[in-house]
C-alpha cells in the first residue's frame, strides 16, 4: 500500500481505506470482479482528462459545421473525433456575446466524467452547489470571472441523464492558430463555465 507509507513512517489504513480494500477483496473472492478488471477500469479513469474536452472545443472553433453537429448531438459529435464516450448523453451549450453558461449538479456531482475525468473538489462542494444556482454572478466573481451586466446567464443543473459541456467563445487574436494550439487555451474550468479560456 504505497499510498500510506512515507519514508519509513508507518500510517495505518483509515477506516475508509480499510473498507475499500475489504470490499475489493471480497468482490474478487466471490468472482464479482477480477483484479485485472479493476486495473483496466483504473487505467480508463486515469486516461480521461480535460484535454479530451479541449480537443472538442478547438475543433468546434475552427469548423462551423462541426460546431453545429456538436450543439445538435454532443455525444455523436465527440465520438466522431474518435473519442470514446460510453454511457454519456452530452448536451453542449454555447457561450455567445449575449449569453454565458455555467454547469452545476446541486444534488450530487454529475459531470461528464467519461469526457473530462474526475470533477474538481470545489464542484462537489456545499458552497458551489448551494450558491451558483441562486447567485451565479457572485460565484463566478469568486473565480475571478466577471460577467458584464448586459450578458445573461444560463445555469444548467445536471439533475438527470444528461451531462453538460460549455463551449466557450474563441479568444480574440487566435486567427490562423492550429487546433492543437487552440486546445492549449481551453481549461477544464472554462468548459464548466466558471472561467473563460486562457488569453493568447
Amino acid at each position: 500500500m504505497s499510498d500510506r507509507r512515507e519514508l519509513g513512517k508507518y500510517q495505518p489504513l483509515s477506516y475508509f481505506q480499510l473498507m475499500e480494500v475489504s470490499l475489493r477483496e471480497l468482490l474478487v473472492e466471490k468472482g464479482v470482479v477480477t483484479e485485472q478488471a479493476v486495473q483496466t477500469a483504473l487505467e480508463s479513469v486515469r486516461s480521461r482528462t480535460p484535454e479530451r474536452g479541449a480537443r472538442v472545443v478547438a475543433r468546434a472553433w475552427v469548423d462551423p459545421r462541426y460546431k453545429a453537429s456538436l450543439l445538435e448531438n454532443g455525444t455523436r459529435a465527440v465520438e466522431h473525433l474518435g473519442l470514446e464516450l460510453p454511457a454519456t448523453k452530452l448536451v453542449v451549450v454555447e457561450n455567445t456575446p449575449a449569453v454565458h453558461n455555467v454547469i452545476v449538479c446541486t444534488l450530487c456531482s454529475c459531470y461528464p466524467r467519461m469526457l473530462l475525468g474526475i470533477p474538481p473538489e470545489w464542484y462537489k462542494s456545499r458552497n458551489y452547489r448551494s450558491r451558483v444556482v441562486r447567485e451565479p454572478r457572485a460565484v463566478l466573481a469568486e473565480f475571478g470571472t466577471k460577467i458584464p451586466k448586459r450578458v445573461r446567464i444560463r445555469v444548467h443543473d445536471s439533475t438527470a441523464d444528461m451531462r453538460y459541456l460549455v463551449l466557450p467563445m474563441r479568444p480574440k487574436g487566435t486567427e490562423g492558430w492550429s487546433e492543437e494550439r487552440l486546445a492549449s487555451l481551453v481549461t477544464r474550468d472554462c468548459m464548466i463555465g466558471v472561467s473563460l479560456p486562457k488569453r493568447p
Binding site: 448536451v91 446567464i153 444528461m162
Partner: protein, 124 residues
C-alpha cells in the same frame, strides 16, 4: 416531428437521445409552459426542492429514461419516463434575485413531476 425554435438552441430531432425502452407517452412539447409539482415524498428524488412549485417552459425533450426513483430501489424504472430540460426565469425562482432579468436556470425534470401550467401567467 415538431419544429423546435432555433433561438432556444434546442436540437430539432425529437427526442435528442432516443432509445428502445418502453416509455410513457410524451405529453409536453418544446416551448410549452409547465409547472413543477409541489410535492415532498420519500425516497430518492431528482427534482430539486428549490424548483418545486415553479413554472417554466420546455426547452427540449431529452428522451425517455428509466425512473431514477425506482432504479434507486433496485427496480427497473420502466416504463421509461420522458425527461425534459425545463427553462425557468431566475427572477421567478428566487425571491429578490439580482441579475439580468432574462437570466435563466435550466433543470432536467421527469414528466411525472410536471403538470400543465396556468397559461395566463407571464411568459418566459
Amino acid at each position: 416531428m415538431p419544429q423546435v425554435s432555433k433561438r432556444s438552441g434546442a436540437p430539432s430531432p425529437w427526442p435528442q437521445y432516443p432509445n428502445d425502452l418502453p416509455s410513457e407517452p410524451v405529453r409536453f412539447a418544446p416551448l410549452e409552459r409547465v409547472r413543477v409539482r409541489m410535492s415532498a415524498p420519500l425516497g430518492h428524488i431528482r427534482t430539486p426542492f428549490y424548483i418545486r412549485g415553479c413554472s417554466g417552459t420546455i426547452e427540449r425533450l431529452c428522451g425517455s429514461f428509466p425512473n431514477p426513483e425506482e432504479l434507486a430501489q433496485q427496480r427497473s424504472g420502466l416504463p421509461a419516463q420522458p425527461l425534459y430540460r425545463v427553462r425557468f426565469l431566475q427572477k421567478n425562482v428566487w425571491h429578490g434575485y439580482r441579475g439580468h432579468p432574462a437570466d435563466v436556470i435550466e433543470v432536467e425534470i421527469f414528466q411525472h413531476w410536471l403538470e400543465k401550467a396556468d397559461t395566463r401567467t407571464r411568459d418566459e
